[in-house]
């Protein structure tokens, strides 16, 4: 509610009451037979509740007219999650994914104008209610984090990037703070979910499409079977190059630096963390230079506020 700029004026009260009743009716989950629930939110008859504000006609009762909207609401939103989380769907199966989606949307109805944001609290939901994905809790959470990071990387904000020569710009590394592009997410995963998601997307895509680029909300074909991955620690940067989303694996020391910079540590302090881990490596200085050169070439860095 904090994002709403004004409270409704007096004349809007009757309208608001109708809208609340309508929304309450259509946002209730459908029955197993894909019909509107016969009970209203307060336990009374839904037929009676619908008849109180919706007119019947010669073919449809008030209940049946509201039910058209109830069905459309669920079909539209479930379809959206279905498209956005093919990896999670593959891991837990279609039926469980459907049930999880209904539970998620019931607990967290959309809070954004954009359908793109529909899954923005799915990770939180799974953290609080892991039983929906048992016994694959960790794998499922890794996948959801990656699938959400993919959405962010697809169309997230980009700030003017810093070239490698401009990174230091004569400043003291002990005080210099760098920021990453808002569309980049770093993920510390217990499963190699990058390869898994790429396999899922590749199998679900029509022929001739790029392998890990997203084409907006196109209808994908049904996802075929892809084996669940075995545990393996990986670190990923989910980023964007020339408008395509990429998953880049990072070494643990690289992740140490990136996460330290993200937390606001100065450049020198962030790099010292990595040096401590690799003090036996004589060439680590050169490695570090290469990393920064590559990250800058991807356009990852921007000025910290």
């Amino acid at each position: 509610m904090s994002r709403l700029s004004r409270k409704p004026a007096g004349p809007g009260k009757a309208l608001r009451a109708i809208q609340r009743a309508f929304a309450a009716g259509i946002m209730r989950p459908l029955t197993a037979a894909r019909r509107m629930e016969p009970k209203w939110v307060d336990g009374q008859s839904a037929r009676k509740a619908a008849a109180a504000f919706i007119k019947p006609n010669d073919r449809l009762s008030s209940f049946e007219r509201l039910e058209i909207y109830n069905k459309q609401y669920w079909f539209r939103l479930l379809d959206c999650l279905y498209e956005d989380f093919p990896g999670l769907r593959t891991v837990i199966g279609e039926k469980r994914f459907h049930d999880l989606s209904v539970a998620y949307l019931t607990k967290y109805p959309s809070n954004s104008h954009a359908l793109r944001d529909l899954g923005n609290r799915l990770e939180k939901f799974l953290r609080n209610e892991p039983e929906w994905v048992a016994p694959h809790e960790t794998l499922a959470r890794d996948i959801v984090r990656l699938e959400w990071a993919h959405i962010v990387a697809f169309d997230g904000e980009a700030l003017p990037p810093l070239e490698i020569d401009a990174l230091l710009d004569g400043r003291d590394p002990a005080r210099l703070r760098l920021a990453f592009q808002p569309y980049i997410t770093f993920l510390d995963c217990d499963y190699p979910v990058d390869n898994f998601i790429l396999a899922v997307r590749r199998r679900g895509e029509p022929k001739g499409e790029a392998s890990n680029a997203v084409d907006d909300r196109r209808k994908s074909t049904r996802t075929k079977k892809v084996s669940r991955p075995r545990p393996e620690k990986i670190i990923l940067a989910v980023h964007r190059v020339e408008n395509s989303v990429w998953y880049k694996r990072l070494e643990p020391e690289a992740y140490l630096i990136c996460s330290a910079l993200q937390k606001g540590l100065p450049l020198q302090a962030a790099c010292e963390r990595a040096f401590r881990r690799r003090k036996a490596d004589e060439n680590f200085g050169a490695t570090l230079q290469n990393w920064f050169a590559q990250w800058a070439s991807f356009g990852w860095f921007c000025r910290a506020e």
Binding site: S5, R16, R65, Y73, A153, D155, S244
Partner: protein, 284 residues
């Protein structure tokens, strides 16, 4: 008549909706199209591929913005962040007008992502009109409101849908995006004569027309946008341009989308009606 202050004195002709399956065809073959309508919300993003595609389209074509999530009839306050993003897009596209629906879709900060019907009351009309004025003042571009297709009516209604539309646009001094398919769908679902609707509305306020296909079920008609335009809708379109003049027209095809050429051919049927009208005097 076609160029009026509600469509910024333009005469755009026949357009089609810009849809993802056609991107490659449009960008590589550059077909001759009068204009494209974009769904504003698909491009109200911060960066990335959607905006890259849009910029490429804007290099070649005229673009008009059509929204699906302003929810002019909602009782939640206007979302200023949403409007700021919309204004950024308006500046990018230079859209001569901007349209959205005469509907609501969110309440208490929860979004249904649907175009839900309003009760046709004087209070609701005043509420929506006030919001349209606020939006227009902020966006600084003419606003057209589109009639939605609907499947429910309210006991609270005090007037017909066409009277409500007229009341809203007169109070807001706004234009109309007249969706003749939506009128037809609602007329079948609510047992009214669609001609009454067409005859009543203030024709001088029509800045754009939508045409589309629909699906017939046993007890109601659903506005599916997944078919060619059906004959009764073409007949209504012919009458609409008799009354309002040949007006910028857009074919909506949003599901089971066929090839670009098929969609374009279907849209261009509308041009024939306009040509016929220009060559034949209208009989009063």
């Amino acid at each position: 008549m076609p160029a009026n202050r509600f469509n910024n004195f333009t005469n755009y002709g026949i357009g089609i909706g810009l849809r993802v399956p056609h991107y490659q065809h449009i960008l590589s073959r550059k077909p001759a199209v009068d204009w494209f309508e974009i769904i504003s919300e698909n491009f109200m993003v911060d960066a990335g591929r959607p905006l890259r595609v849009l910029d490429q389209i804007l290099e070649q074509y005229r673009v008009v913005q059509h929204g699906v999530a302003m929810y002019l009839g909602s009782t939640d306050g206007l979302d200023r962040e949403h409007l700021r993003k919309l204004k950024r897009l308006v500046k990018r596209t230079n859209t001569p007008w901007l349209s959205d629906h005469l509907c609501w879709g969110s309440v208490d900060g929860r979004y249904t992502h649907d175009l839900l019907p309003l009760p046709y009351t004087f209070a609701a009309a005043a509420h929506v009109a006030q919001r349209i004025r606020e939006v227009r003042d902020f966006l600084e571009v003419p606003i057209l409101v589109e009639n939605v297709s609907s499947y429910a009516e309210f006991h609270a209604s005090e007037m017909t849908e066409w009277e409500f539309l007229g009341e809203v646009v007169e109070k807001a001094d706004a234009g109309i995006l007249l969706d003749v398919n939506n009128i037809y769908v609602s007329s079948q679902n609510h047992n009214f004569n669609p001609c009454d609707y067409l005859e009543y509305i203030p024709h001088h306020r029509v800045g754009q027309i939508h045409i589309a296909g629909h699906s017939k079920f046993e007890k109601y008609i659903l506005d599916t946008h997944d078919h060619p335009v059906l004959d009764p809708v073409w007949k209504m379109y012919a009458r609409a341009i008799e009354l309002a003049g040949p007006t910028a027209t857009l074919l909506e095809w949003d599901d089971r989308i066929p090839t670009f050429d098929e969609v374009h051919r279907e849209a261009l049927k509308a041009a024939k009606f306009c040509k016929d009208l220009l060559h034949e005097p209208v009989v009063a």
